[in-house]
Amino acid sequence: MTKTFQPGDPIWCAGCGHYGVRNALQAAFQQLDVESHQTMVLAGIGCAGTLQNNVNAYGFHAMHGRVLPAATGVKLANPSLDVIAVGGDGDGYAIGCGHLVHSFKRNTGVVYILMNNGIYGLTKGQNSPTAETAEQAFDGVQLGLSIAGSSFIARGSSAAPTQLQKLMVAAIEHSRAGRGFAFLEVLSPCVTYNDTYPKWAGRMVDVDTITGYDPYSRTGAFTTVHDLNAENRFATGLIYQQDSIGSERQWLDSGQAAVCDLDIDPALQMSDFREIMDDYGV
C-alpha cells in the first residue's frame, strides 16, 4: 500500500460546532460506502475551510469565496466524483454569495455544506451576514428557495447529529442521482466568539414534525420558512427538493462523455481539425 497523507487533527476550539459537521460527514461517507479516492472535499477560507484536512479524501483549499466555482469545475470535468464543497457563512453568504446564487441556478451536482455560525471566527469575531443583529436580513434558505433552478435545500444543526447525518446522506444521494446542486446549511456555533448553542436552542423546528409538510412544494416551503423566521425560529430538515436534472447529468445525457475520460490524442481527431482549417481556407 502506497503511503500517502493522513488526515490531520482539526484546528477548531474544543466544543466547536464544526466537529459535529465533520463527524456527520464521516458517518454519511461510511453509511454510503463512499470511496475515499472517488471523493473530493473542497473548502473555502475560515475555520470551516479546514475540514478537508481532517477527512480521508482528495482535498482542496480554495480561495476565499470561490469554493463553489472550483467545485463546479471539478464536477463538470469529472461527474463520477462525489464533490463536497464546504465553507462558512462569511465565505458563502458574503464574499462568495454571487456564486451561491448562480450555483442554485446552474444546478450542477455539487454538495455544498455551509457552516453558519454568524461570525467571522478565524479573524476573531467580526460580524458576518448572519450575525444576530442582521439575522432576519439574510437567510440562505430563503435565498435558495427564491431561485427557480434550486433543487435541494436543507438545514441541519451540529446540535442534532442524527438529523445532520441523515441530511448529508440525502444531499449526497441527490447529487449522485444526477439531480443537481444540494445545499445544506448547518447551524454550527462558534463557542469562542458567538456561542449560539443556548441562543439557538429551542428555536429550531424540524419540518418533518410539521403535519402535511411537502418538501416538493416551493411555495409551501417558502411560507413555512418565512413564517418561522417571523417568529424568530428556524426551519430545519429537508426543506425543499425537486427531481430536476443536474447540469453535469444533462451533459452526459446529451451523449457527451465526461471530459476527464477523453483520449485527447490529436491524431484521433485529425480529420475534424482539418475540417476546421478548411473553414478558414483562402
Binding site: 500500500m1 502506497t2 503511503k3 500517502t4 497523507f5 493522513q6 490531520g8 470511496e35 475515499s36 479516492h37 472517488q38 471523493t39 473530493m40 473542497l42 479546514t50 484536512n53 480521508n56 482528495y58 482535498g59 482542496f60 483549499h61 480554495a62 480561495m63 469565496g65 470561490r66 463553489l68 466555482p69 472550483a70 467545485a71 463546479t72 469545475g73 471539478v74 464536477k75 463538470l76 470535468a77 469529472n78 463520477s80 466524483l81 454571487g98 456564486h99 448562480h102 451533459w251 457527451q256 462523455a257 471530459v259 476527464c260 477523453l262 485527447i264 490524442d265 490529436p266 481527431q269 485529425m270 475534424d272 481539425f273 482539418r274 476546421i276 482549417m277 478558414y280 481556407g281 483562402v282
Partner: protein, 584 residues
C-alpha cells in the same frame, strides 16, 4: 506580373457602425485571396452595438504582412466623418468613393490628385432596391469596376460571400451590384482604372489570433473552457462554443471572471486541460486565483487579450499595458510563464505550448495577446497539426502509484516538479492547497519547510528554461541597431526591418515569445546592440523596464511608445527610428 499591377493595396470602408463596412471588405478580401494576395484585415469600431464611427480596413499584398499599410489607396466612405478621419492617411493617387446621400463631400484637406467618385448610395438603394442594406453590394459594384475586375469574377465572389443567404436575397444583391457597375460605366469622368495581379500561392488560413489561440488549445487536448464575455477576448469563448462540441469540450459561460477562472482551476485539478480567456479588467479579477494556481501547483492557461486601460479604458482599442500585471501581478512569489505570440500562427503554436507547459510545470501559463493580434484577421500558413505532441509531465496513474512506496503531492524534487495523481485515482488521496504546506499537503509554517517549498516551486522554472519558446529574430547578428517588440509589434517591426535593411541600414530585430521568465537570449540581444528600440503600446515603457530589471543595458534602450489606441504603421515607425538615428 505587369508593372502597373498593384502589389500592395489598402482599402478602407468606413461609416457608422451597422453600415456593413465589414461585408464590403470581406467580399473584396475573397476576391483578392483568389488572385493570390495575402490579406490583413482589421476594424476600428466604437464600443456600442450600432452607430459610432466604424471602419474596416483591408490590406491585400503579394508579400505576407502582419499589419495595416501606411496609406489608404481606396476609401469607401459612407459619411463625411469617415473622410475626415481617413484624410491624413489617403495616398496621393488614391480614390475616394463617397456616399452623397446625406450631402456633398467637403474636400478640405484632400489632395487634388485624389480621384473622387460621388455616389448617392443610400438613395440609389432605396429608390431602385428598396433596402438601404444593399448599398454594400452597390459599392462593391463601383469598387470592382475601379479595380478592373470583370463582372463574372466579381459576381462569383459576391455569391460566395452571401452563400448562406436564400437565393432571392443573393439575386437582389447581384442586382444592386449591377446598379453599381452601371453607375460607374456612366460616369462622365472615368478615373484611371487600377489593375490587380493574379498570382499563384499556396492555400492559407484567414484567421484571427483569438480564434487561433482557441484552436491551438483544442489541438493540444484542451477540453474545458470557462469564460465571461469581455471585449476584445470574447471570440475565444465563442470559438470553443462553436467548435468545441465535436471534441466533447465542456464550455461554461460563468457569472463573472472569478467564477470562470475558478471553474477552470477546478477542472484542471481533475487532470483535464483547462483554459479561461479575458481582457485587462477580467484579468485583474483573476489575479488571486492565478496566485493560487502558482502556489497550489495547478496547470492553468489564462489568455489575456489586452485592451486600452486603465480601468474600463477603451475596450475596443489595442494596448500592451498589462505587461506588469501579467508578469508581476498577484500576491506572493510563485512561478509563472507568460508567452506572447506575434500573430495568429504564433497564437496557435504558443497555445499548444502553453497547454503543454502548464502540464509539465504544474503552474499558471498566461498567453499575452492584444486587441490587434486577437481580432485582426491575417492570412497565415496552415497550422502544422502533425507537429502537435502532447506532454503529460509527471502525472501518475493508479498502476504507477501502486509501485511507489510513498506518494507526496508536493514532493521536493531536483527539478521542482512533483508527481501528480488526480482525484479518482486509488491511492492518490492528497491535499491540494494554496496554504504553505509540507510535502504531504498538510498546512505548515515551519521556516525550513517554507524555504524549501518556495525554492522548489521556483526550481520548476529555473531548471526547465529549455522548454520555453525561443524568440523570433532576424537580421545581421553584428548589427548595432536592434528593434524589439512583442505581440502586435511583430508585423510592423518585420516590415520596418525590411525597409531599413533595403536602405542599407544594418539592423536586426527580436520578438521575444517568452515574456516571463525573461530568457538570456533576450538580454543578450539587447546588450549586443548599441541602440535597441523597444517598441510598445503603453505609456510607462513596461517592456523596457522588464528588460532593465533583468540586466539590459540602460544606455542602449530607446523606448518608442504609443498609447492612443491605434497600432503603429510601418512608415510611421520607420520615420521615428530614422529621426532618432539622425540625432545620434
Amino acid at each position: 506580373m505587369r508593372a502597373n499591377q498593384l502589389t500592395d493595396l489598402n482599402v478602407m470602408v468606413a461609416g457608422q457602425g451597422g453600415d456593413g463596412s465589414l461585408t464590403v471588405t470581406s467580399i473584396l478580401g475573397e476576391l483578392l485571396a483568389r488572385r493570390g494576395y495575402h490579406l490583413y484585415m482589421s476594424r476600428n469600431v466604437a464600443s456600442r452595438i450600432k452607430g459610432g464611427h466604424a471602419a474596416a480596413m483591408m490590406r491585400g499584398s503579394l508579400e505576407q504582412r502582419g499589419c495595416q499599410g501606411d496609406n489608404i489607396d481606396i476609401l469607401l466612405a459612407f459619411d463625411q466623418e469617415a473622410v475626415d478621419m481617413a484624410a491624413s492617411r489617403m495616398a496621393a493617387n488614391g480614390v475616394i468613393i463617397f456616399d452623397t446621400s446625406d450631402g456633398d463631400l467637403n474636400r478640405e484637406g484632400l489632395a487634388d490628385s485624389i480621384d473622387i467618385i460621388e455616389v448617392p448610395f443610400g438613395r440609389f438603394a432605396v429608390r431602385d432596391l428598396r433596402r438601404n442594406l444593399f448599398k454594400n453590394s452597390l459599392s462593391f459594384g463601383v469598387l470592382s469596376s475601379i479595380l478592373s475586375i470583370d463582372e463574372d469574377e466579381a459576381i462569383n465572389c459576391l455569391r460566395h460571400s452571401f452563400q448562406r443567404l436564400p437565393e432571392d436575397a443573393i439575386v437582389a444583391n447581384i442586382n444592386a451590384f449591377d446598379s453599381g457597375r452601371k453607375f460607374f460605366s456612366e460616369l462622365p469622368q472615368q478615373p484611371d482604372l487600377r489593375m490587380l495581379a493574379n498570382v499563384e500561392r499556396e492555400k492559407h488560413l484567414l484567421i484571427t489570433g483569438n480564434e487561433a489561440v482557441a484552436f491551438g488549445f483544442l489541438a493540444a487536448g484542451g477540453r474545458f473552457f470557462a469564460g465571461y464575455p469581455i471585449t476584445p477576448a470574447t471570440e475565444v469563448l465563442e470559438w470553443v462554443q462553436k467548435y468545441g462540441s465535436r471534441f466533447n469540450v465542456q464550455v461554461t459561460q460563468a457569472e463573472d471572471e472569478l467564477a470562470a477562472v475558478n471553474m477552470a482551476l477546478g477542472a484542471a485539478m481533475t487532470g483535464v486541460r483547462a483554459m479561461t480567456a479575458t481582457s485587462g479588467p477580467g484579468f485583474a479579477l483573476m489575479q488571486e486565483t492565478i496566485s493560487h494556481a502558482g502556489s497550489a501547483e495547478i496547470p492553468l492557461v489564462v489568455v489575456n487579450c489586452q485592451r486600452a486601460g486603465p480601468s474600463t479604458g477603451m475596450p475596443t482599442k489595442t494596448e500592451q499595458s498589462d505587461i506588469n500585471m501579467m508578469v508581476f501581478g498577484a500576491n506572493g512569489d510563485f512561478p509563472r510563464i507568460v508567452l506572447a505570440p506575434g500573430g495568429p500562427h504564433d497564437c496557435f503554436d504558443l497555445a499548444v505550448q502553453a497547454t503543454n507547459l502548464a502540464q509539465q510545470l504544474q503552474c499558471p501559463v498566461i498567453l499575452a495577446l492584444d486587441q490587434m493580434i486577437g481580432q485582426d484577421s491575417t492570412t497565415v500558413e496552415p497550422f502544422n497539426l502533425e507537429a502537435v505532441v502532447l506532454q503529460h509531465g509527471k502525472r501518475v496513474d493508479a498502476a504507477t502509484l501502486q509501485e511507489m512506496t510513498e506518494y507526496r503531492r508536493y514532493e521536493i524534487t531536483d527539478d521542482g516538479v512533483s508527481p501528480w495523481a488526480v482525484p479518482g485515482t486509488p491511492g492518490g488521496e492528497s491535499l491540494v492547497t494554496g496554504n504553505e504546506r509540507n510535502e504531504w499537503g498538510l498546512v505548515s509554517s515551519n521556516p525550513e519547510n517554507r524555504r524549501n517549498m518556495v525554492d522548489k516551486r521556483q526550481r520548476k522554472l529555473d531548471s526547465n528554461l529549455h522548454l520555453l519558446p525561443r524568440g523570433n529574430s532576424q537580421g545581421d547578428a553584428d548589427a548595432e541597431i536592434g528593434l524589439l517588440g512583442i505581440g502586435m509589434q511583430l508585423g510592423v517591426i518585420e516590415e520596418v526591418w525590411q525597409r531599413l535593411s533595403a536602405q542599407g541600414v544594418r539592423i536586426k530585430f527580436l520578438q521575444p515569445r517568452t515574456l516571463w521568465p525573461v530568457l538570456d537570449e533576450t538580454i543578450e540581444f539587447t546588450n549586443s546592440c548599441k541602440r535597441v528600440y523597444v517598441i510598445e503600446h503603453n505609456q510607462a515603457a513596461q517592456l523596457a523596464h522588464l528588460l532593465l530589471g533583468e540586466g539590459a543595458n540602460k544606455a542602449g534602450i530607446k523606448s518608442i511608445l504609443k498609447y492612443d489606441g491605434q497600432p503603429f504603421g510601418a512608415g510611421e515607425l520607420c520615420a521615428k527610428i530614422q529621426q532618432e538615428e539622425a540625432g545620434q
